[in-house]
Symmetry: C2
Subunit: 146 residues, 2 copies
DNA sequence: AATAAATTCCATCGTATTGGTAGAATTACT
DNA sequence: AGTAATTCTACCAATACGATGGAATTTATT
């Protein structure tokens, strides 16, 4: 309504913000700790929201942190080794259009009659593999290149 | 919690049911009208839910219908000409991870500082193009092959 | 004309997710 | 002690998702 075009995108803001934070931290690698507030301000991310996101990234081992005065965040892995697929998996779940082709958390489709002969499964498997490939190839390093 | 693994998939049930209905109708092509109730029963789709989905498909021109006694649905396009990308677009929106790379409904990212130099845009464009390609290549006909 | 069978249309509804906020607790340096 | 930072927990509004219910309409058959 009211002239507003609703646009559905496949990636959550959480995931996008996580990627932006990682790219930011990768750029500052070796230059000491980075404040959440700085990332938030420079990347236009609500600070309190970003806090949560950085915590998730920390628990998953992508970033490290130091508490207290002079603290902050820093990246812990080489930028080439962290892919969009990894971060998508962490925040937005499986890279699969249907549960029965999910790599990590396979689940049978509730409405499936016979998985063995299901041609949807076969085709969606192909789609997933292609999508996963390109998302795996795109790393934090890819975003750093000019 | 409680041992239940939440699995997030990228495609809505609406979209999946729509594809299943189209495949079903494609199989019955030339054999007269198909009842919603039959599709619902054979494909394990809630009937009232399926009704809505078929209406959307009808308005978009993918199926036709006949009201009243002896009525039902039938497919109106060649199975090769309807792709997963088309149906995904109709029910689940853009095949794009971020709004600024969406083909149909482009929108500027709210948190973007400069779209021209944005490397996320560049990389997400690549991802979208790959994903779109494979989803475009997969048609209703693809699912019919044994 | 009545009936039955089907689509069509519209409204509602519970639950989960999303995106974000608030505030207190903790840690560590000065 | 005070200050600056992360950490943790809870909460909240808006929206999407996955349906369900019921009435209206159309059409073939009896």
């Amino acid at each position: 309504m009211s002239g507003f075009v609703y646009l559905q995108t496949m990636m959550s803001k959480k995931c996008k913000y996580a990627l932006k934070a990682l790219i930011y931290l990768a750029r500052k690698q070796g230059k000491g700790n980075v404040f959440t507030a700085d990332i938030a301000a420079d990347e236009n991310i609500p600070k309190k929201f970003l806090e949560q996101i950085l915590l998730v990234l920390k628990r998953a081992g992508y970033v490290g942190s130091q508490t207290g005065y002079g603290g902050g965040y820093f990246i812990t892995k080489p930028a080439e080794s962290v892919s969009v697929a990894d971060i998508h998996r962490l925040f937005d779940g499986a890279i699969a259009l249907v549960p029965c082709v999910a790599f990590d958390y396979y689940q049978q489709c509730a409405d499936c009659n016979d998985e063995v002969t299901c041609t949807m499964r076969r085709e969606f498997m192909k789609i997933k593999e292609q999508t996963r490939l390109v998302m795996k190839e795109t790393s934090i390093q890819s975003f750093l290149e000019p």
